[in-house]
């Protein structure tokens, strides 16, 4: 095989690329649209495992589930989470007064989510976090809160692995 006629080899190579061209052409004629994803209008279908940006879970009463235990802060390899805890008279007694994530440093590794003992910080499906300034990539607690029912894909995915 390796000593085949060079001319033949070139012709068979040409045939390969011609076949690809014809196949794509016929698909295009039949209206196949998925040659490219036109980004802002179309989105890729992401698998349920997708790790997007970390967000805080907002419970139905509008408050965060986080109890400011600080485990995510410890676990974060890039130390991009800042938490200032405070006390409240609610049932859980503690809440984060300040909860900032520096998205410029965050690498979407998911260790904060894995460390959290309350399922209060989860990786959302949000991956578009570009901003015009460095200050814009500092996300505060109010920006990070996402209602719990919008995070269903991720929490379902996590719960699948609960008992492992």
């Amino acid at each position: 095989m390796s000593n085949a006629n060079p001319l033949l080899a070139i012709l068979s190579g040409l045939w390969v690329s011609t076949r690809h061209f014809l196949r794509n052409l016929s698909r295009f004629a039949r209206g196949r649209q998925d040659f490219a994803i036109h980004f802002p209008e179309q989105r890729l279908v992401q698998p349920p495992a997708l790790r997007g940006m970390p967000v805080l879970v907002q419970m139905d009463n509008g408050k965060e589930r986080c109890v400011a235990c600080g485990l995510c802060e410890w676990a974060c390899p890039t130390t991009c989470i800042t938490i200032y805890p405070a006390e409240t008279t609610d049932e859980v007694e503690r809440y984060p007064q300040i909860f900032d994530i520096d998205m410029a440093r965050c690498m979407f590794c998911g260790l904060c989510e894995e460390a959290c003992p309350e399922e209060a910080i989860v990786m959302s499906r949000q991956i578009e976090i570009a901003s015009y300034s460095r200050r814009g990539s500092l996300w505060h607690k109010q920006d990070l809160l996402v209602p719990v029912n919008q995070l269903k894909t991720r929490t379902d995915y996590l719960r699948r692995n609960y008992d492992r």
């Binding site: 060079p6 698998p47 460390a115």
Partner: protein, 412 residues
């Protein structure tokens, strides 16, 4: 072009090259190749001295992507360094995860459950497929064969889709944990994976038809970048490059780790130790990886994917939420990182480019005292200067491409 000596009638045309050199001698031309040359897919600077087209002296400089991986590892807990290992060889990140975690497990003496081992092999072989496809595609593109690049990149995308479904990220996988993996594979992954891999393999087959018998490609690959098997070993070269020289040194075979001992696979070896054999060895490893993945799916046992080892593996989430002991354990493990025994271990895995070893020295705390990565690209790059000196300028590109130097791993 307007060189007056070219028109000198006394200059011999060919046949007496030495005399021509004597008569037309000019000092060698110094050429800086890189650091950001389109053909150096990884920032590396090669300084070449050229006599005409011939390389008479060369020097390779690496280090443009040095990020202090080892220093960074010394200040992080064992589990915090796993995401950093993704960034070593960014074209096959799961293999790096596996290498690091297995070294730490060896230090702790953890035995991982079989399902976890199989999942690691599946993830690792997917990464290897992606890495080989990228390597072949990029090298072909550097030799101006652009079409195979398109096919192989599409194949790599299919592999990355699988990695994405497995662990939630395409490149920054962070898949393997010390004593387990981050998540079990999703439902229906087997069918999805085999379909995707077969689709990618047809693309590889197309690229194979375009490249393997192509006379231009063969002329540029065959016989270039030669290094004798003895030299390869002496220079510390491992991986497909060493196997292309006929030395069947594959860690998966010689020191079977995970479940490689149970799998049925071949170690392709070359004989000429040139770039073309390196290409052929990589091409031959692609179907092997596919067969390994299929075997793993067939043999995949049930059961947990994480070791039940409270010293280092974080407790299962379901129990952390409901039970006090596990909650305390979680707090201890996150804030102290799992206290390792004192000692030092070296563990090597077969990464896509060769032997990837991690040498970890522990002083008994949750952070490594030293975490050394024995990067295959680094050792494979070191004889580059020897391989290209004396050859043609045009041979630098295929030789460099077949080393598959990955900046993140070489410069760490």
């Amino acid at each position: 072009m307007s060189d007056p000596e070219q028109k000198n009638p006394a200059a011999p045309t060919n046949g007496s090259n030495a005399r021509a050199m004597e008569e037309l001698h000019t000092p060698p031309m110094r050429l800086q190749f890189g650091p950001s040359h389109p053909a150096t897919h990884g920032t590396v600077k090669i300084t070449l001295d050229l006599e005409g087209e011939q390389v008479v002296w060369s020097e390779v400089e690496v280090g443009y992507l040095h990020r202090g991986f080892e220093k960074e590892c010394e200040t992080g807990y064992y589990y915090q360094n796993i995401p950093y290992t993704d960034r070593l060889n960014y074209s096959s990140p799961i293999l790096n995860n596996v290498g690091y975690c297995m070294a730490v497990e060896k230090l702790f003496g953890i035995v991982t459950p079989p399902r976890c081992d199989y999942l690691r092999v599946i993830g690792g072989e997917l990464s290897r497929l992606a890495d080989h496809m990228l390597c072949i595609g990029a090298s072909a593109m550097e030799l101006a064969a652009f079409t195979p690049m398109l096919y192989l990149i599409e194949g790599r995308e299919l592999m990355l889709d699988l990695v994405d479904a497995l662990c939630g990220a395409r490149v920054t996988t962070n898949f393997v944990r010390i004593g387990g993996v981050s998540a079990d594979m999703p439902e229906g992954f087997r069918e999805f994976a085999i379909e995707r891999i077969d689709k990618a393999l047809t693309l590889v087959e197309d690229a194979n038809k375009l490249l393997t018998n192509n006379p231009v490609f063969r002329r540029r690959m065959e016989g270039t970048g030669y290094l004798s098997p003895k030299d390869l070993v002496a220079w510390g070269v491992t991986g497909p490059m060493l196997r292309a020289g006929g030395v069947p040194y594959d860690i998966r075979r010689v020191h079977p780790y995970l479940v490689y001992g149970d799998l049925d696979f071949e170690v392709p070896v070359g004989e000429h130790s040139d770039n073309f054999d390196r290409y052929l060895v990589r091409m031959a490893e692609i179907p092997q990886s596919r067969s390994m993945i299929v075997q793993c799916f067939d043999k995949l046992p049930g059961g947990p994917v994480n070791a039940d080892d409270p010293r280092v593996r974080w407790p299962a989430k379901g129990r952390v939420f409901n039970r006090m002991e596990e909650l305390i354990d979680q707090f201890k493990l996150v804030t102290e990182g799992g206290m390792a025994p004192v000692g030092e271990v070296y563990h090597a895995v077969e990464a896509a480019n060769g032997e990837l070893g991690f040498y970890i020295v522990s002083d008994g705390t949750g952070k490594p005292w030293k975490c050394r990565c024995r990067a295959p690209s680094f050792s494979n790059m070191s004889p580059l200067s020897k391989m290209i000196t004396g050859g043609q300028l045009a041979d630098v590109v295929p030789t460099f491409g077949m080393i598959n130097m990955i900046g993140g791993e070489c410069d760490r």
